[in-house]
Symmetry: D2
């Protein structure tokens, strides 16, 4: 299998002499690669191995992306502003974003009734999928039956996976966490992104994650433990799993260390406002595997990723920046989120250095 920056260019099986795309022209490949002439040559002993790997590739194609945890634009009365939502999603995809997180915490999914959640998903998921990007939908609910209902709707709407937390009011034991995801695995056809967030729910241990990796629908993990050693545990444990499982970074400021350790994607607050730089970082680390370049981009992102994770009201901050600095009228937040003060608004703009950094975006 011969690959370059544009993906697979052909395949040849040494034992069976079969070849795929055997008539491709090297010249064309090089020209299309825009000056990046690095090729990766992968030997497969059998076509079966190649196909198995292709299956895995498909999983990476789905989930190895920066997924902005997209904010949900609202009118003054709290109703959804789909027009702005679509424009914002389009703009992020135009800037190189390959996946979108719909109705995650930043999308205020806990402020919506089950019906409102489904309505938004039914409109926005097909819209994004049409553009070819992946979609992960936040479906956490305290009652697992409610989470399941949201997942089944998201599945029908075409989502690629659901992000689901353990229960967050009740602190589940590790056994109860396994029961929680087993219930979801058994009662929905949608793939699951297990979400570890020990500040909100019981923390998931490495041993528990090993069990969760055995559930067929559990494909990916978002770790927001805020410490890299837990994410490292999940990454190393994923490598031991029978089927391919992947870990996505769930903490903006641990971005670089997460990718360097093996995370394949990022659920990102930052990408709402800096999609181009976020996508560039991802490409440097995953496609080009150039860690020095990745580190340089990370340094640029550093003020923003710190603000989004450390300022206690990041949704309001991101909506403010989108409205005032970038140019999308995101409107209000629903309860329990209230507007932040003018001092805070000025502070988050200053802290994130966003006026300067926003110039990296394509408008």
């Amino acid at each position: 299998e011969l690959r370059n920056i544009n993906g697979e260019q052909g395949a040849y099986f040494t034992k069976t002499k079969e070849a795929l795309q055997s008539d491709a022209l090297l010249k064309t490949m090089i020209e299309e690669a825009n000056g990046d002439n690095q090729f990766e040559l992968i030997y497969h002993s059998t076509p079966e191995n190649y196909l198995k790997r292709k299956g895995e590739k498909k999983m990476l194609e789905k989930f190895a992306h920066v997924f902005p945890a997209m904010v949900t634009p609202m009118n003054e009365d709290g109703s959804f502003n789909y027009e702005v939502a679509k424009k914002h999603a389009d703009w992020m995809m135009d800037n190189g974003i390959g996946g979108i997180g719909v109705l995650m915490a930043a999308g205020e999914y806990q402020s919506m009734s089950l019906e409102e959640h489904m309505e938004y998903v039914n409109i926005m998921v097909p819209y994004i999928k049409k553009r070819g990007a992946s979609v992960i939908v936040g479906c956490s609910r305290e009652r697992v039956e409610d989470a399941c209902a949201l997942m089944n709707n998201a599945y029908k709407a075409g989502a690629d996976a659901a992000m689901v937390l353990p229960s967050f009011y009740y602190n589940q034991s590790q056994e109860e966490i396994i029961d929680h995801y087993t219930y979801l695995n058994d009662n929905s056809d949608l793939d699951i992104m297990v979400y570890n967030n020990p500040n909100v729910t019981s923390g998931i241990t490495r041993e528990t994650m090993k069990e969760l990796y055995k559930l067929p629908h559990v494909k990916i993990v978002k770790d927001a433990s805020m410490v890299i050693d837990v994410m490292t545990d999940f990454i190393f444990e994923a490598e031991e799993a029978e089927e391919e499982k992947n870990v996505l970074c769930g903490c903006d400021y641990l971005l670089y260390q997460a990718y360097a350790t093996g995370a394949v994607g990022w659920i990102s607050m930052t990408a709402n406002i800096l999609p181009k730089l976020s996508a560039d970082f991802h490409n440097a680390m995953i496609v080009e595997k150039d860690y020095q370049k990745g580190l340089e981009i990370y340094k640029k992102l550093y003020p923003v990723v710190n603000m989004t994770e450390r300022y206690p009201a990041p949704t309001q901050a991101v909506k403010h920046i989108l409205s005032e600095v970038i140019g999308f009228d995101e409107g209000i937040c629903r309860r329990p989120r209230r507007e932040i003060s003018d001092e805070d608004k000025a502070m988050v703009v200053e802290w994130s250095q966003i006026r300067e950094l926003a110039k990296t975006n394509k408008m």
Copy 2:
């Protein structure tokens, strides 16, 4: 005003010469007091002051109680077992309990749909009220609109107050917490017990509580901060409030120190299984004001109050003890709570020394 252990025995106003119950017989009073002949004589300069104090008394009559955070008995399929619920409630009241907490955390209120919650409240609240006990209903929901709907139903059912947390998925700022309770104060007629539980929501500061005390419907506070200094702050701040506000202990093992500092009641896991000893403690501290006696009862309760607060699955533990030791068939827990192991069951029985202590209950 002349009071003894049975409450007010008469009143006489020095300035106006008015008298209430002037023909009561001292002999009868003493006989009815069962050997406790202590009287409290309170001077009121005017009948108005007396009546104002009576109003306050009414508030204490409502809320100065041990409120068991009553578990919700369920059948194998998760449906409510009202028969056991009523028997359990009756038994607790027969043992001297003067108030009941319905559908609090131990009542698994987050495991029920809004409809199920209302159904249970509509049946159980009138049942308890008929016996003359006070009822506080757990109405917390992540969406304040849902909490409000539960409160309005509980109000119609005759509840005395609703226990409400700040939002528990989203960590509210202090301003957002004030907004939360203001919304509830303005949109429901039911009185509110503010519930401070920093392990689940943002902690409420003394300054914020000062603001919440200004809301007319905020009558009482349940503090489950697990540290006595926060409860002390709320008690001392309540004494500064314009209207009467009271604090109830929300941590079983801080019981004695809470009452000694001025808490007037207790939202109690323990009283589910030891109603008599719990009520005796309350009477020693509040009615008899005999702190040495209270401390002695607290020492007896010590193994239980430590188990109920420190064992991580207290609802399952209490249901197990009720079923196996006391004799009420509480059945299963709903998701996200799962059955605890046999080792744990044995351990919580041993830890709490409940087999011995259960003998204090009237059966």
Copy 3:
């Protein structure tokens, strides 16, 4: 045994007809009691029981006190100012203080070489003992051999006990903590106050304290865990010990709850600046056993006890208040403590409301 506020007034043994001080005049007793005519009559079945109780009394006479953790006055060059130290000690004792803590944390004992520590102890301990007050000397050192050397010196100087922490750089296991105190018990004749301070060393568990209570020289415990439930554990465990062991409150703001639960004394920052009110509180709770009165004094002390425990540089704060508000020239602090800012100085004076409260002191 007949006791009043001034202590034992006489004893009479019913079985043997013996009497002590049988010719004491009731009139004199009452006159000397300054208007407090409450007597406590204690029956002893045998003189042996009486004598045993007397032994216990002696322990309470030694340790049931407010012990100011006395600051160490220093000249500009860091040398000790004994003149101010003696005046300050005298003033506290004149205000009713019955014991003094010498060279505890507030006394900057970790900023002194072993030689300097011994010099200070050799001068100040005899000075205080001459007045009849008890003395506890802070002898913690990272190396237990050094702690032991300080204890042996304090013993010779006449101290009643040494306050000793577990090692504070290395986090000892529970077994290592027991080894630590066993070493001290076996290598010094001085009694020991075990000091639990989980913010500085490993926390001591109830099970470990049970073992430490078996060491003959371990007489008392100072708990600075900052949570009342740990102190409660130590108090309840002390009641199970074969010999009498007592617990002293080591957290200024938990003062009232500690005494209400059974603490017999207080190692106090506050008493440096408010000796009279501190001693009054102690007498209300221990001698008069009037908890309502104790609670009222606690409310007065509340701003000060919160400042001394919550302001991160209490030694500097107390020295500043003594110098600027009370009138003892305490001078500088040694390294690692540096002078606090003028803003902080103003803030701690305001926070503690000390200008008003200082009027309670006898000058």
Copy 4:
């Protein structure tokens, strides 16, 4: 300047036409590089810039190493076993270790009197320096005057730097931390490794580190905050400093992420028992800059680096492993460290997988 894996091969200054080693043969260079023919070409506009860079190189030559935090072998009576110490140091250097940490926490430096500390340093530092390795000596003491005395002795003995914590009994403010290091900077000629360990002392903020970087003797930082974001802050801040400052990893299990982010060395418990694999990791990341190779070695080290940081008595664990698995008779630990149980000994051997991993060492 032309460099390859063996270091500088020559230099040429474009503006002045000067050249160093202009007659070096490319053939020789390539042959000596053992198959690694990668060259790095660095332009310097002036010879001065080149020389300045050479100075920086010297700093990296000193400090860009794995420094085992070497345990201190002791006889049964607690006296030092210099023979084993020398053998152990030799063996680590034979396995590729380029620097040694003498009398750090694992070296039990807080269990020694000042005199004992100096004696050990006076013997071991010259011994190690003779072999050409760098030496950093642990000189933390609660009293900064004592720390300074230890530093001055270590300087005379030939050490390259002293590791110094802020005071650990007293929690210093940020201003007091700056005062602490300024005192040391001004009163000793030895270079300083600032040691951030928020579990033992007040944590050092990025702003404070910026100030500390201005002290000429502060050359390096050891971060043991156990979170990579604090280390990242220190690394990024170092890049802003006027003079070269470097950060060393102080948490075994964050090793890989630390190097990937820019740490140039490692103060290591693990290297006591796995010097070869530790040195290989360092070379992969720093010399070869091959992060995939580094990550693979990190995965091998993973069980050990987790054990050394998470088992609460790592010094005892490492001494046990050295004695039982590797073959150096390390003897006892001094107080406050006591022998660990047989169960724990077996557990740390199992947890660390050291029997298998020890085969990577050259014996």
